[in-house]
C-alpha cells in the first residue's frame, strides 16, 4: 500500500508540465539515437547528459529526461534493424532476424508497429516488476555490510565478461584502466594519490566528464573520420495495415519476452542483449514448427523487442537499490545520480522518494509516449535516418562543451573531456570496450572503501569477507559469473551468428 502511495506521488511529479515535456523530448531524442546505427543507449545517454546541465534542469527533471532517453533508445534500435538490416544498437541484433525479411516482403510498417507494441509490453511488464521488486530489495539492502558490498562489487566485475565479452583480455584491460583512473585523488585516509599538487585533481576525476569524453567526444571524432558526409538515401515504407487480431497474436510472445527480459536485466552483467537473445530462442522453442522464424514471423520481431525493453527496465533494479549497475547504460545513469548528490540505496527510496518514484512513474508515462511516437509518427524517425551528420555534429559538440562547463565553470574540465575523447577514440580503434572502463571508474573506489571498512571492522581479520551466508552466496555467483561466459558464451555467439547467416 505504501508503494502505491509513493507511486501516486511519483505521478504527481512526473505529470508536472515541464517534467512531461522533458520526458517527451527525452523519448524523442532517445528513439532517434537508438535508430542511428552505431549509437547505442549508453552513448546516447552520455551524449545527452550535458544537455541536462546546459539547461540547468532540477535533479528529478534531468533524471526523467535521461531515463526517457534510455527507454527511447531501446525502442529506436529496432528501426534500422528492420529497415536496413543494421542493428541500431547491440540488443536490436536479434530483431534483424525476422524484421528485415518482413520489410523485404513489403511489410515494413507492420514490422515496425508490431515491434513497437512488443517493446511497449516488455517495458510495461518490467516497470511493474521494478515497482514491486525495488522496495523489497531496498529494504533487503540493510543487511548488506561492508563485506557483503565488497563481494557484490567483485560479482559485478566478475560478470563484466557477460556484458561486453568478445575478447576477455581487452575487457580486463579496460576495467584496469577504469580502476587506475579511479585511484586519482585524495583517498579514504587522506593520502594524495597521483594528484601532482594540482588542486583540480584532489577530488579525483569526475565521472561525468570521463563518460562524456569517452563516449560522446570519441563518437564525434568517429563521425568526423567518416567524413561527416551525406546521409543515407531516403527510405520509403508502405502504408500500415495491421488488424487487431495480429496485435493480439503477438501478445503472449511479448509477455513471455518481457518477463524473461526483466529477469535477465536484474541479474548484474547480463543486460539487454542477453534478454533479447533468450526471448527469441525461447519463443522459437515454444512455438516450434508452428512458426516460420527467420523468414519474417511477426513473433520473431516481437520476442526480442519485448526482451530487450524488459531488460532495460530490469537493469534499473540493482542500480537503484544497491548502487550496482546491471548494464553499461545504467552505469552512466548511476554516474549522473552521484553527480546530482543522490546516493542510490535503501535510503534513496525514502529520502529522495519524490525523485525515485517520479522517475518510475515517468518510465510508465514515457512508455505510452513512446508507443505514440513509434506507431503513428515512426515516419519522422525514418526520415531523420537520412539527415546528414554534418547538421547533427555541431549541435552535439556545442551541447557537450556548454554542459560540461556549466557543471563547475572550469576550463580544466573541458581539457579533460577532450583528452578523454581522444583517448576514447584510440581505445575504440583498438577495439577495447568502453563500458568496463566506466564500471571500473565507478565501482573501484567503492570496492576499495568497502574492503577497508570490512577489515577495519574485523580488526584486520580477512575471514570476515566470507563470514555470512549472504557473502558466501555472492562469492559463489561471482565465481559462476566468471566461469560461465567461457563455457556458454562461445556457444551462444555461435548460435547468434548461425541465426544471422541462415537468414541471408
Amino acid at each position: 500500500m505504501e508503494t502505491l502511495n509513493y507511486l501516486l506521488d511519483g505521478f504527481g511529479v512526473a505529470l508536472a508540465p515541464h517534467n512531461l515535456m522533458f520526458a517527451l523530448l527525452g523519448a524523442f531524442l532517445g528513439t532517434l539515437i537508438g535508430a542511428l546505427p552505431g549509437l547505442g543507449p549508453a552513448n546516447g545517454v552520455a551524449i545527452l547528459i550535458p544537455l541536462a546541465f546546459t539547461l540547468g534542469l532540477r535533479p528529478e527533471t534531468a533524471l526523467i529526461m535521461l531515463t526517457a532517453v534510455y527507454a527511447g533508445a531501446m525502442y529506436g534500435g529496432r528501426i534500422s534493424s528492420i529497415l536496413l538490416n543494421i542493428p541500431g544498437d547491440e540488443p536490436a541484433m536479434m530483431t534483424c532476424l525476422d524484421g528485415y525479411p518482413m520489410a523485404q516482403k513489403g511489410k515494413a510498417a507492420e514490422a515496425l508497429a508490431i515491434s513497437a507494441v512488443a517493446s511497449f509490453m516488455g517495458s510495461l511488464i518490467a516497470t511493474i516488476g521494478l515497482i514491486l521488486l525495488a522496495p523489497l530489495l531496498a529494504r533487503f539492502a540493510l543487511t548488506f555490510g561492508a563485506a557483503e558490498y565488497f563481494a557484490l562489487f567483485v560479482l559485478a566485475f566478475a560478470t563484466l565478461g557477460g556484458i561486453t565479452g568478445k575478447n576477455p583480455v581487452k575487457t580486463i584491460m579496460a576495467a584496469a584502466i577504469g580502476l587506475m583512473i579511479a585511484t586519482v585523488g585524495i583517498d579514504n585516509t587522506g593520502v594524495q594519490r597521483y594528484t601532482f599538487g594540482v588542486l583540480e585533481l584532489y577530488e579525483g576525476v569526475d565521472f561525468i566528464i570521463t563518460i562524456v569524453g569517452l563516449f560522446a567526444i570519441s563518437e564525434l571524432l568517429f563521425f568526423i573520420e567518416a567524413r561527416a558526409g551525406g546521409g543515407k538515401s531516403e527510405i520509403v515504407i508502405n502504408k500500415l495495415k495491421l488488424s487487431w487480431k495480429e496485435i493480439v497474436a503477438i501478445l503472449p510472445t511479448s509477455f513471455r519476452g518481457g518477463v524473461l527480459g526483466f529477469i535477465a536485466g536484474v541479474l548484474p552483467g547480463a543486460g539487454a542483449s542477453l534478454g533479447s537473445f533468450i526471448s527469441y530462442t525461447l519463443e522459437k522453442k515454444v512455438l516450434g514448427r508452428k512458426g516460420y522464424f527467420g523468414e519474417g514471423d511477426p513473433r520473431g520481431v516481437a520476442a526480442p523487442e519485448a526482451g530487450n525493453n524488459g531488460a532495460s527496465s530490469g537493469a534499473l533494479v540493482p542500480m537503484l537499490t544497491l548502487g550496482v549497475p546491471g548494464s553499461g547504460t545504467t552505469a552512466v545513469l548511476l554516474a549522473l545520480l552521484i553527480s546530482l548528490n543522490i546516493t542510490p540505496g535503501p535510503l534513496m527510496f525514502t529520502q529522495n522518494a519524490d525523485i525515485v518514484w517520479g522517475v518510475i512513474a515517468a518510465l510508465l508515462i514515457g512508455n505510452f509516449l513512446l508507443l505514440l511516437l513509434n506507431i503513428p509518427l515512426v515516419g519522422i524517425f525514418v526520415k531523420l535516418l537520412s539527415v546528414p551528420p554534418m547538421y547533427l555534429l555541431p549541435i552535439v559538440t556545442m551541447v557537450a562543451f556548454v554542459g560540461i562547463y556549466s557543471i563547475s565553470n572550469s576550463a580544466f574540465d573541458l581539457y579533460f573531456m577532450v583528452a578523454f575523447g581522444v583517448g576514447g577514440y584510440f581505445l575504440r580503434k583498438l577495439e577495447i570496450p568502453l563500458v568496463p572502463i566506466i564500471l571500473g571508474l565507478l565501482l573501484g573506489p567503492e570496492m576499495e572503501k568497502n574492503l577497508r571498512h570490512a577489515l577495519d571492522i574485523a580488526d584486520g581479520d580477512w575471514t570476515v569477507l566470507w563470514n555470512s551466508g549472504l557473502a558466501i552466496g555472492l562469492w559463489s555467483v561471482a565465481i559462476l559469473g566468471l566461469i560461465l561466459p567461457y563455457l556458454v558464451g562461445p556457444m551462444l555467439r555461435r548460435r547468434m551468428k548461425a541465426g544471422t547467416e541462415t537468414r541471408d
Binding site: P59, A141, L142, T143, F144, G145, A146, I186, N188, T189, G190, G197, L199, E200, Y202, E203, S339, L340, N341, I342, T343, G345, P346, L347, T350, Q351, I407, S408, N409, S410, K449, R452, H453, D456, I457, D459
Partner: protein, 328 residues
C-alpha cells in the same frame, strides 16, 4: 537619550565626509556567490538560500548569481578567491566547518585563513553521536566508558573523510571524556551521512557521527537513538528531548556553521556593508523561515567576532589533528 545627539552628529559627519571623499559602498550590478561544490550540497544551499533572502530584502540591486566551483573540498574555490579575485567587492564565498578543518590540516596547499575576509555565519547544524535502536549503549558516558576500556570497542561511521569534521567530533568528545590513545578509535568514512547511517541502522557499524539534520529521517522512524547532541544548550522544537553532551558531563561542542568569506583587499566600506547585510539577514523573518525549513539552528557571528572564532576553531582543530597524528 543623551547618547543620541553625538551619534547623530557622528553620522552626519561621516555622511559629509564620505560625500566629499568617497561614496559609502553599495553593490552595483551583478553580485556573485561562489559555492565551492557541485549543485545540491550544503554550500550550494547556503549560496542559493542567502542569495534569495538578499534579493527579498533589497540588499542587492539585482540578483545574486550562484556559481558552482567544485574541487579539492573547497580548495579550488579558495585558491580562485585568493589569487584571482582579490579586491572584488561583490563576491561572497560559502564556507563551513569543512573549510576551517581543511585550512587547519594544511589541505589548501600554501594558503591560510588570513588570505581572505571572514564576513559572518548565519546558522549551524550541530553534531550528534547516535547508535542503532538495538544498541547496548543508552547514553554517551556508557559509550565513552567502553572506549576507555578498549579504544577499538566502538566503531564509528560518518560522512566525512578520515580526519574530517565527523571524525573530529568523535575525537573532541573522546578527548574530553579522558580517553587516551585517540588514533586507535576506529572511524569508517562513507560518501555521506546517509550511507553511514544505513550501515549503523543495519547493525554493521556501532555508532554514527554526523549532523542532526542528516539523522532526522531515521530518528523519526525510531531506528536511530541519538545519545548526545554537541551543542551548548538543548536545541529548540522537536529536538528538545535530545540531551547535550555537556549535561552528561562531557564538554564537547561541535557546531557545523554555515557562513561566508570574501576576497582580500576589499575596502573597509564594502566589508562593513556585507557584515551589516549578514546581521540584517539573520534578523529577518525570511531567513528565520529558511532556517526552520532546513533544520538550521541558531548560530550567528559577524565581522571581528567571527574572524576570531574561525581562527580559534582552526587552532583547535590543528592541535587536535596533531595530537592524533593526522598532521605532523
Amino acid at each position: 537619550m543623551t547618547m543620541k545627539t553625538p551619534i547623530k552628529l557622528l553620522a552626519a559627519l561621516t555622511l559629509t565626509l564620505s560625500g566629499s571623499m568617497a561614496m559609502a559602498f553599495e553593490p552595483s550590478g551583478k553580485v556573485e556567490c561562489l559555492a565551492p561544490a557541485d549543485p545540491g550540497g550544503g554550500w550550494d544551499f547556503t549560496c542559493r538560500s542567502v542569495g534569495k533572502v538578499l534579493e527579498e530584502l533589497d540588499l542587492v540591486p539585482r540578483s545574486v548569481q550562484t556559481i558552482n566551483m567544485a574541487g579539492a573540498g573547497g580548495g579550488v574555490a579558495y585558491a580562485h578567491t585568493v589569487s584571482k579575485r582579490a579586491g572584488d567587492e561583490q563576491l561572497l564565498v560559502a564556507a563551513s566547518t569543512a573549510t576551517t578543518t581543511r585550512l587547519a590540516q594544511g589541505q589548501f596547499q600554501g594558503m591560510d585563513a588570513d588570505m581572505v575576509n571572514w564576513i559572518g555565519a548565519l546558522g549551524a547544524d550541530y553534531g550528534i553521536i547516535a547508535v542503532s535502536k538495538d544498541s547496548e549503549y543508552q547514553d554517551l558516558p556508557a559509550l565513552m566508558d567502553a572506549l576507555k576500556e578498549d579504544p577499538r570497542a566502538v566503531k564509528f561511521a560518518g560522512g566525512s573523510a578520515k580526519g574530517g569534521w565527523d571524525h573530529l567530533k568523535v575525537l573532541i568528545a573522546a578527548q574530553d571524556a579522558g580517553i587516551e590513545n585517540l588514533p586507535r578509535i576506529p572511524y569508517l568514512s562513507y560518501n555521506n551521512g546517509g550511507e553511514a547511517m544505513t550501515q549503523v541502522v543495519g547493525g554493521h557499524v556501532d555508532a554514527f557521527t554526523g549532523d542532526i539534520t542528516e539523522a532526522q529521517g531515521f530518528m523519526e522512524s525510531g531506528d536511530l537513538r541519538v545519545l548526545a547532541v554537541l551543542s551548548e544548550e538543548r536545541l529548540p522544537g522537536e529536538f528538545s528531548d535530545i540531551p547535550t553532551a555537556k549535561e552528561q558531563g562531557i564538554d564537547a561542542v561541535g557546531p557545523n556553521w554555515r557562513g561566508f568569506y570574501m576576497p582580500a583587499d576589499i575596502s573597509d566600506d564594502a566589508k562593513q556593508y556585507w557584515v551589516d547585510a549578514m546581521d540584517t539577514i539573520y534578523e529577518s523573518e525570511e531567513w528565520k523561515q529558511v532556517m526552520k525549513q532546513n533544520g538550521l539552528m541558531p548560530f550567528h557571528m559577524s565581522a571581528g567576532e567571527f574572524e576570531s572564532f574561525v581562527k580559534q576553531q582552526i587552532d583547535d582543530i590543528e592541535s587536535l589533528s596533531r595530537d592524533i597524528g593526522l598532521i605532523q
